[in-house]
Symmetry: C2
Subunit: 259 residues, 2 copies
DNA sequence: CTCGCGCCTTGATCAACGTCAACCGGCGCG
DNA sequence: CGCGCCGGTTGACGTTGATCAAGGCGCGAG
């Protein structure tokens, strides 16, 4: 599929590509192609060689890890973001699975070209270093969120993050199905349900996808949000999750329309 | 303290500095200084501005995260390795605490110089990108280890890793006190003890710091080691841990002499 | 030698969380 | 209209691992 110039423009505006010269960008995207995937498409499995840097232009993608028949969601990404940068740079096998959540448009940039420019263009190389640093810090935040907090606290912080993202009003709308949010927060749907129930004491009311927070201060006192953990910056990859079967967690990156 | 040239040589051999030109290395280390810390010294706390890249030349350093009076060890490093690279590059506050475990010699390289060279030298910038990619993958492996495996399985894999590192004989020596290994593996000392006990069924015998593995295949059948998780490369930073108070986990980097 | 202090171990109890099963309500479809 | 499916919820139960308390052992100091 040929690449629309509007799409290229969006890619160009990614922090990773902003600092580089036009010609470098041209060389990087010369061998690139755009592909549209249906929902639930497997893009990459653990251990696969990684030939392309993926740039998610539309839709959303879930990254997960598996071992011994258990699966754990490591991150969920929204547009516009890149993924598996580290594996591409190392030219190493993928350490996670990538699967589309909804139908997604993905730009695939040849890894070889990327590694070539990395070695020749300072601007690009330092942009990559910055990007990777951000990813790294995101992972660290995610680990702390996962390991230091209990399920109820994670949910409380998630709700507060959504709230601030949706204008800090008393009401917010959950961006995904609850089952998927449970996965994001590293718990089972059953426990998410119970966590919501126990937040009732803190002024949280739930009606389907609509949540109203009547006593934000009480909720914050429980959640104890911390800028070193909850920093919800744009384009922040995050992770975490839980054993067994589909779980996960992410500092959300976007609010997709609900179906 | 002035820097011995032997120390500088060791730093020079780090993957991060091998590819760069002598003059660049000279500029990086021009403002650097070597400092000796006693055991248990706090080098850095979460939220602190990060003015230096730390290079651990001797001793060992624990990285941890805290929230709400709970602490969780994120990684333990041995010589020679660098830490908080990501924060230095982003010129952002530290996301973890750093504390020496034993007396440690640490080289401190001014962050400003590092960021300057990052923007001017391709070789260095791409070396940084490679280094960060490795760190990132290490973290991902650590998360998978932590989230997908139970305590007994983590211990089993840890023992197998030690075994292969110590010559694959039937016997191995634990490199740390058990209490610290418990922390490394993300569990309490009590549970480590129980985990060892339950490994008796798989041919693991413990006598103080000495462990003999009489039926490696049985142990491997339990541990199910996975190259995507257990890849114990040299200079591999890893993480993970557990809530409450001092816990941790790491893909070991070295075998220090036991006291 | 003996006391005391760490480290390790062991047992009992508890809290968090996953699992299993059943049920409810909405919605599309025959 | 009624059926069945699916997402969500609720309850009972089991497992994992943390917590608390107690005791053994080795070792250095008095």
């Amino acid at each position: 599929m040929s690449i629309r110039s509007a799409d290229l423009e969006r890619v160009r505006r990614l922090p990773l590509f902003v600092p580089i010269a036009d010609e470098v960008f041209a060389r990087l995207t010369a061998g690139a192609f755009l592909q549209r995937f249906p929902a639930g498409a497997d893009l990459l499995a653990e251990g696969d060689p990684v030939d392309f840097l993926y740039v998610l232009l539309d839709g959303s993608v879930e990254l997960s890890g598996t071992w011994n028949d258990k699966e754990t969601t490591l991150a969920v990404l929204g547009p516009v973001s890149t993924f598996i940068l580290a594996a591409v740079i190392l030219d190493a096998p993928a350490t996670m699975n990538a699967r589309t959540v909804g139908r997604s448009d993905i730009l695939m940039i040849p890894g070889a070209a990327l590694r070539r420019e990395l070695e020749e263009d300072v601007r690009f190389a330092s942009a990559v270093a910055l990007e990777l640093s951000g990813c790294y810090q995101g992972v660290v935040r995610a680990i702390k969120n996962q390991k230091l907090r209990g399920g109820v606290e994670r949910l409380a912080n998630y709700l507060l993050a959504q709230r601030s993202r949706q204008g800090s009003g008393a009401t917010l709308t959950l961006p995904y199905e609850k089952r998927f949010i449970a996965s994001l927060l590293g718990m089972t749907p059953e426990n998410l349900s119970r966590a919501f129930a126990s937040l009732a004491d803190y002024g949280v009311e739930v009606d389907g996808p609509h949540v109203t927070i009547s006593r934000p201060v009480a909720l914050e006192r429980l959640a104890k949000p911390d800028p070193l953990i909850d920093k919800h910056l744009p384009s922040d990859i995050t992770l975490i999750s839980k054993p067994d079967r589909e779980r996960s967690q992410t500092l959300e990156t976007y609010r997709p329309p609900r179906p």
